[in-house]
Amino acid sequence: MDIPYTVKARPDTGLFNAKLGIWLFLASEVMLFGGLFSSYILLRVGADPQTWPQGLLNIPVGTFNTAVLITSSVTVVLGWSALQMNNFAAYRKYQFVTIVCAAAFLVIKCGYEYPEKFKHYEVWKTDGTRVTGHIVSADVSNRTVRVEGGVTNVVWESGHLEGSPWLWSTKTLNGENRKVLSLKLHPDSTHYAFPAKDHHAAVKEGNETTHELEFKPADIKRLSAFVPAHSTYFAIYFTLTALHGLHVLGGGLVIAYLWGPGARLWKTDPQRYTNRVEVSGLFWHFVDLVWIFLFPVFYLL
């Protein structure tokens, strides 16, 4: 039982089945990312002024990532056309670059950009001012259970944490097992909601030399890292870029599989193999195209 047009194109459509299939799937993906982009527009248009962050994303890093993805799109085509010309060795070189680019993109995004955000904080003070910055250190009190001579004691021991912790929030300040006694924050030079001079006025009370601000929990109305829960800006940023990242990962894995173990098919059915590479390349172009939209929308606008 042979399904027709799996390898050769059907004359009236000019397509083999998988090529039509991937285009149909991409149509649905356009609607998926389109839905999310539309949500971004609605959320941004409806946001209260001074609550929509700008300029918090690293533009040089984002530009580099853009260049990485564009390069990978070029090499993915060069790889496929090398196969069309029966040059398997050239295909392997080009596709290797594609895979490296995919990996680089993900490492930069997940290994640098995201963690950087998770360690960056905003403090809403009870007096209505807001500051963003890195936490330098924190004085804490830890709940310890001591067993001395058969008697179990619960004591609160003081401690000190250096460096910016991960994913702290208002709840962390007053946890079951650890309470924060004071926070030292190194403020950013600007705040997204306030013009520079107002911002400098607000943080003037910091230390003269280190420019660090100290907060007690009583002053803090809300503490949040730059995580999805921080604001709808970060919520939609992380959702869109994470979904895109998953697509980069998926596409990268498929291309890597075809480059590696899947390359066996080149020996037995080169046309079918080339078709698979073409289909994966089409998907890859879509993934790149989504990033071309993501980058200006989040990083530049």
């Binding site: 399904i3 047009y5 397509l15 149909l24 799937f25 609607m31 959702t239």
Partner: protein, 607 residues
């Protein structure tokens, strides 16, 4: 002919089917479209039954509020716990959970899988003369995604806090905040289940579109396609393009529920206190509604189009004449497919969108009624001058016409902004959409089961049981839903666990008239009787598989379409010889022809 039905020389698509298959390969992990069609059908019918049972319990609560459920009350308490079902009563929260899950299960786990995936998978490749779907392994994956989604949805009843209880529409902020006792709860499972079901539908949609475009047999031009195939094609496109925004919305609502985001939570929202809940705010409940209904409206066309396709096939076959207005029917399908994407906000007239936007959606909603009426009219006119055979499939197909007519016409007041002000969220809406789906689509699906059963099993279903099933179902469907129009117009709103007793009007307070609430009892009794009326069908179905009257030949209904040109039941690969098509799909009673029908693959006689 060039290589059309054969793969490129030397490169046969090697499958495992040529070897001996294990039970698992043959029945559970099959890639054969017919097996997958049956898998979908059986699973969907199970969920149809389960969804019906949920409704049966809801109707008890409406007719006999706060009274222990008869007979199964203790079982309910045992299964669901004292909080949900104290003393065997349906609590208000449980009623809401039943309501949300009844809707979700009926729409996404029963009707769409049965109408689109089950009938579509079995019949479409046969009707276009193909050996299978374009992507058999994707087909298998789509069934298993659906099955998993069903398992997740079913198990949500046993999550702490119970199943989702914020409506099948899952509006925020209620959907996020209704169950704050447990982080991972029934609502979470609802979203996960939906993601799986949407994935299944998307895979299926890609498969159907690619199959219909690429695998039509030689000679099967677009305008020679059976109407059922066109209906499935448009349905597949609707699913492909409409579902992803809901997937996006589902992911965002999941993040609201689990990660404290505020996609759909507005600023300053308070919950039973005087301080806002500790989230960032800045989100929009309306955003959820737009994203949901962007799918939600095309979804209802997904529910009806396959059934229209089935009914059309059965009418042509049992009137022994071609369908009237084939071209009009096809163009109307395409128009419905396109227009269905630009009417969604008629579900949101009461959100304060403003008159300009409301008018836009009102206009497109009115326009979309035109192709729907064209289709119905063509089907009615197809009966004129026909030599009608009143077998069971035909009875259901005939009843579909006025029932869908009522459902469709009662939708018109809802499409008008000003009338919807009064009718929105009342029992009028429930009556409208149930008329379209219950005596509408479901009758079409029953018709399809009775009609194609002989091809799948080689035996007829029993006619007498079939007719009993038909007449009782028709009677009780109408007894259940007809009074609801009146209840709705009298102001009875949806989703009230005690049938509106809370709003009973008294001498001093305006409220629902006692007669309005009184109708809950006869409606509930009719609903339970409707369930009993399905017993002849269930008995018939299982009995006929082994003991039904055997068919006389491969084409017992003397049909002209290609699915009847296979051995019975169709083997792997479907056809004895490659199919080639020479004529339109409904060559019935052609003057001068040898018999009263000519199959599509019969060549023109030499002149």
């Amino acid at each position: 002919m060039e290589a059309t039905t054969h793969a490129a020389p030397g490169h046969a698509v090697h499958t495992a089917h040529h070897h001996e298959q294990t039970f698992w390969q043959k029945y559970i992990f099959s890639t054969d479209h017919k097996v997958i069609g049956i898998q979908y059908g059986v699973t969907a019918l199970c969920f149809l039954f389960f969804g019906y049972c949920l409704m049966g319990l809801m109707r008890w609560s409406m007719a006999y509020p706060d009274k222990p459920v008869a007979i199964i009350g203790p079982v309910l308490e045992l299964l669901l716990g004292k909080d949900a079902a104290p003393g065997g009563r349906v609590s208000a929260d449980l009623y809401n959970a039943f309501g949300a899950m009844h809707g979700t299960i009926m729409v996404f786990l029963a009707i769409v899988p049965l109408a689109f995936a089950s009938f579509g998978n079995y019949v479409v490749p046969l009707q276009i003369g193909a050996v299978d779907m374009a992507f058999p392994r994707v087909n298998m994956a789509s069934y298993h995604c659906y099955f998993l989604g069903g398992v997740v949805m079913f198990s949500s009843f046993f999550m702490p806090g119970g199943a989702a209880k914020s409506g099948w529409t899952s509006y925020s902020p209620l959907a996020t905040l209704a169950e704050r006792g447990y982080l991972v709860n029934g609502q979470t499972f609802w979203i996960l289940g939906m993601v799986l079901l949407i994935t299944s539908s998307l895979l299926g949609a890609v498969n159907f579109c690619a199959t219909i475009i690429q695998l039509r047999a030689p000679g099967m031009t677009w305008m020679r396609l059976p109407f059922f195939v066109w209906a499935q094609f448009v349905t597949a496109f609707i699913l492909l393009l409409a579902f992803p925004p809901l997937e996006a919305a589902g992911v965002m609502q999941l993040m609201d529920n689990l990660f404290g985001t505020s996609f759909f939570l507005p600023s300053g929202l308070m919950m039973g206190g005087s301080t806002p809940i500790p989230v960032s705010g800045g989100g929009s409940p309306l955003l959820w509604q737009h994203l949901f209904w962007f799918l939600g409206h095309p979804e209802v066309y997904v529910l009806i189009l396959p059934a229209m396709g089935i009914v059309a096939e059965i009418i042509a076959n049992n009137t022994r004449k071609p369908l009237y207005g084939y071209k009009s029917l096809v163009y109307s399908l395409l128009a419905i497919g396109f227009l269905s994407f630009i009417v969604w906000a008629h579900h949101m007239y009461l959100t304060g969108m403003g008159t300009k936007i409301s008018t836009f959606f009102q206009t497109t909603t009115m326009i979309i009624s035109i192709p729907s009426v064209i289709i119905l009219t063509c089907l009615f006119i197809s009966l004129w001058g026909g030599s009608i055979r009143f077998n069971t499939p035909m009875l259901f197909a005939l009843a579909f016409l006025p029932m869908f007519g009522i459902g469709g016409l009662t939708g018109l007041p809802l499409g008008f902004n000003f009338a919807d002000l009064h009718l929105h969220d009342t029992y009028y809406v429930i009556a409208h959409f149930h008329y379209v789906v219950a005596p509408g689509t479901i009758f079409g699906l029953f018709a399809g089961i009775y009609y194609w059963f002989p091809k799948i099993t080689g035996r007829y279903m029993d006619e007498r049981l079939g007719k009993i099933h038909f007449w009782l179902s028709l009677l009780f469907m109408n007894l259940v839903f007809q009074p609801m129009f009146q209840q709705g117009m009298a102001g009875m709103i949806r989703r009230m666990y005690n049938g509106g007793a809370t709003y009973l009007g008294t001498d001093s307070e305006i409220g629902l008239a006692p007669s309005t609430i009184w109708w809950n009892k006869p409606i509930s009794h009719a609903a339970w009787a409707l369930g009993l009326a399905q017993i002849p069908f269930i008995i018939n179905f299982f009995m006929s598989i082994r003991k039904g009257k055997k068919v006389e030949n491969d084409n017992p209904w003397a049909s002209s379409t290609l699915e009847w040109q296979t051995p019975t039941p169709p083997p792997h690969g479907n056809f004895d010889k490659p199919m080639e098509v020479f004529r339109m799909p409904y060559s019935y009673s052609v003057p001068g022809a040898g018999s009263d029908f000519t199959p599509q693959n019969e060549p023109e006689k030499a002149r």
